[in-house]
């Protein structure tokens, strides 16, 4: 302990010296705008807030590098955590041996999955373990966590953890995963874990009345949020049994519920502070390492910080759902849409995460912003042994928009209609009815079409 404190003190002195040099000449922030003494005589000069291009209150701190992210926060005696990743897509853990890691000088605590009071979480289905104790379902699954006095020691300790696996068959393709005889990611449950159908009107009749019917198939890829700040958290389990967590999480209320559930703590003993997040884009809407950090802190009696590597950002956090999308559209000769069907397959990866929301949103939005009396939209989400898909900016909308707008241009080209014209001919207006039967208000779709065309300098040619 004395040695650790020496190391920590030396590091802190170095950090503080660097800080003093770096910030010696920073200008101070400007004072608050002087209050108006009396009401301005001219109405145009009145104080307004809404509609103003007001400077952000945090802009100066951001611009000068003074915003405190998790990486900038250090508590006395704080340890650093690393997580051992499975590295295989599917397998059963036969044995975990953490003794060599625990014996390393500087290692203060090791945690494995079975130590968690409730080892599962998830916003819809609690199908994801904090640390796998039995079955690995994708290569980024964590199997053990280490806290040590430095990141380097923690990383070296993770390498000394030995895990024996019994390999299990993996399914990587969502179409294959839908087959009855496919390996089950969460046996005995089917790999199809969520579905939704939206139907309005009579598509068969609509197609029968159409002059032309077009079909298209579109696919989209798996992408990462790539925030500048990776997932990071500090957990501090104090002697009174109260847990404080600083975390890069966009939903602190849900995260506290998940912490309370996994750790079996009353909520009034958990304080969760959402620090300024260096980019979320949907990737930080749920807990990840926080319960493991909390247990490490409890065991070590010290605060514990965990910061994901860039590699972990890709392999161990959620990604955007890859989609397979099949469209059929019946139109009149002059390009009015009479019927449309959309069938969506969402590759959910190993765990549900925010698939239910993504599936719902994409299924509702799939027909596009068009007045179509006869629509049918069906979506399924499928487990595969890959990185779990979750929330990402757009929740399925970028995928279906790629499909319905590519499809729209193909229809326009086949009919010899200008792409702007066919959209104006079918687009939603005030009072239009959505595929779920909702009467829409404040609809300015056609304004956006006309104004973008004007800004761009779009001239019709067909």
């Amino acid at each position: 302990m004395a040695d650790d404190q020496g190391v920590i003190e030396r590091q802190r002195a170095a950090v503080e010296a660097a800080w003093r040099v770096e910030h010696a000449r920073l200008p101070s922030a400007p004072g608050r705008t002087a209050p108006a003494v009396s009401p301005p005589a001219v109405p145009a000069q009145q104080i307004r807030a809404v509609g103003q291009r007001a400077t952000r209150p945090d802009s100066r701190n951001h611009g000068l590098g003074q915003t405190k992210y998790i990486c900038d926060i250090a508590l006395p005696g704080m340890l650093h955590a690393r997580i051992k990743r499975a590295g295989i897509a599917s397998g059963r853990i036969k044995r975990i041996d953490t003794s060599a890691a625990e014996a390393m000088p500087g290692v203060k605590a090791v945690v494995v999955g079975r130590e968690l009071p409730v080892n599962s979480f998830g916003p819809t289905f609690q199908d994801q373990p904090v640390l796998v104790d039995e079955v690995v379902r994708h290569a980024g699954d964590g199997v053990a966590a280490v806290a040590a006095i430095s990141e380097d020691i923690a990383a070296a300790a993770v390498e000394r953890i030995v895990v024996d696996y019994e390999p299990l068959p993996a399914v990587l393709d969502p179409i294959e995963a839908m087959r009855e005889d496919a390996p089950k990611v969460h046996p005995p449950e089917s790999n199809i874990y969520h579905r939704l159908t939206i139907r309005r009107g009579d598509v068969a009749k609509g197609f029968a009345q159409s002059d032309h019917v077009f079909a298209g198939r579109f696919t989209s890829q798996m992408v990462e949020h790539v925030p500048m700040e990776p997932h990071a958290a500090i957990a501090d389990w104090d002697a009174a049994g109260r847990l404080t967590v600083w975390a890069t999480i966009g939903r602190i209320t849900l995260a506290r519920s998940d912490l309370a559930r996994t750790l079996q703590l009353p909520m009034n003993r958990i304080r969760l502070i959402g620090t300024i997040v260096g980019g979320n884009f949907g990737g930080k809407n749920e807990i990840s390492q926080e319960p493991a950090l909390a247990l490490l802190s409890k065991k070590a009696g010290r605060p514990v910080k965990g910061v994901f590597s860039r590699g972990e950002e890709f392999t161990a956090t959620t990604v955007r759902h890859p989609f397979i999308m099949e469209y059929r559209t019946g139109v009149t000769r002059d390009g009015r849409i009479l019927a449309r069907t959309a069938r969506l397959i969402l590759d959910g990866g190993a765990y549900c995460s925010w698939s239910e929301t993504t599936l719902g949103k994409s299924c509702i939005l799939a027909p596009g912003p068009y007045k179509i009396d006869n629509v049918s939209s069906e979506a399924v989400a499928v487990y595969t042994n890959k990185t779990m898909s979750g929330a990402m900016r757009g929740f399925g909308a970028p995928q279906v928009c790629f499909a319905y707008e590519s499809h729209m241009d193909d229809i326009a080209a086949a009919l010899g209609i200008d792409p702007l014209t066919i959209r104006l001919r079918n687009g939603f207006e005030e009072g239009s009815v959505s595929p779920t039967g909702q009467v829409l208000h404040s609809v300015v779709l056609k304004d956006t079409l006309r104004r973008a065309a004007e800004r761009f300098g779009w001239e019709a040619h067909s």
């Binding site: 209150p57 939206i198 300024i276 959209r423």
Partner: protein, 338 residues
């Protein structure tokens, strides 16, 4: 040879969660000098949410944006919020803060009404004063009202409120219902240049017309649209996580997972389309996610316009575009051996 093309794409996008309740609560406290503190459970994730929420509180209280400070994201101190997700912050959290500010303002009106000798309903909060509607000379600085409320009347001005968008659950049979409070609309038009020898696509410019209801802070709306376009551009042309046959990622790093940098960005012309949604705070809806939704199809439609190939699987990498161009050439006249 390089070919230019243009492509259009429009979209609709809901504001808030799918079907389930997604409430926000907020507290607004007035300080003795007439400035205000807002407590909110949402999180600043870089988008400028706290700036926008402060402007909403300031508008309701007749203050300037600088007069409001926000305390956010601490489960010990701030009230429940569904979080920085689903483009809901301006609309849902904003409505909760507007209502909480109005509740704090009601205390100020009550106190000022006694001093001014008018009914509270005749008062307005404007220019850091509580004043009689239509008679701005008849009013009191808001700081004096706050001091009086606290020190003379023992009634510190504070307001709390919560808000949840009214929705109707989807029918499990046919999916009919009212899943969202409101929607936004947008169109983006891209101009690209495609090199038919390499398949490389360069996005030259994008005109982006976006509806967000009232733009609470137009500068931040523009920032969201520009950021969304960079994300949409990566989705359209570059980004893709690849797996080996054993299910391990091949490119989990920023060397081999290619995403757009400043040098890839096109010229962007953002147009905020005038609109007012009566269900939003001061007419506002949201803009965070929709900004990237139409970018990829606008670019893909522009590629089709430029070289006549339809890429149906994202991303449209140079290799994929070149292969499609070659396949298309192959369909036409073939050179026969002499």
């Amino acid at each position: 040879m390089k070919h230019r093309g243009r492509g259009i794409a429009c979209m609709w996008y809901p504001i808030g969660f799918t079907v389930s309740a997604n409430p926000s609560a907020a507290v607004v406290k007035m300080n003795e000098d007439g400035t205000a503190v807002v407590l909110t459970g949402t999180v600043e994730t870089g988008q400028g949410a706290l700036a926008v929420l402060g402007q909403i509180a300031a508008e309701a209280l007749g203050l300037a944006p600088d007069d409001v400070h926000l305390v956010s994201a601490d489960t010990d101190a701030t009230p429940m919020d569904t979080g920085a997700i689903a483009s809901r912050t301006t609309y849902v959290t904003g409505n909760a803060i507007r209502l909480a500010a109005e509740n704090a303002r009601a205390v100020l009106f009550e106190v000022a009404a006694q001093v001014l000798g008018v009914a509270a309903s005749q008062l307005e909060a404007r220019d850091r004063r509580i004043q009689v509607k239509g008679f701005p000379q008849c009013g009191i600085p808001i700081g004096d009202v706050c001091k009086r409320a606290q020190s003379a009347l023992g009634q510190p001005p504070i307001g709390s409120a919560s808000w949840n968008p009214p929705t109707v659950a989807l029918d499990p049979e046919n999916g009919q219902g009212k899943p969202f409070g409101t929607y936004v609309y947008a169109t983006q038009i891209a101009e690209v240049e495609v090199d038919d020898e390499t398949g490389e696509v360069e996005v030259l410019r994008i005109a982006a017309a976006h509806d967000c209801g009232t733009p609470i802070n137009p500068m931040l709306v523009e920032g969201q649209v520009e950021g969304g376009i960079s994300m949409g551009l990566g989705f359209a042309l570059q980004e893709e996580i690849l797996f080996d046959r054993d299910g391990r990622q091949i490119n989990p790093n920023l060397t081999n997972y290619i995403m757009p940098t400043a040098l890839d960005m096109p010229e962007i012309d953002v147009d905020i389309v005038p609109n007012y949604d009566p269900t939003g705070p001061f007419g506002a809806k949201g803009v965070g996610e929709p900004s990237l939704v139409p970018t990829a199809p606008a670019i893909l439609n522009a590629i089709h316009d430029a070289v006549g190939v339809r890429i149906t699987s994202l991303p449209a990498t140079s290799e994929k575009v070149l292969a499609a161009i070659k396949a298309k050439r192959g369909e036409g006249t073939k050179r026969l051996p002499a």
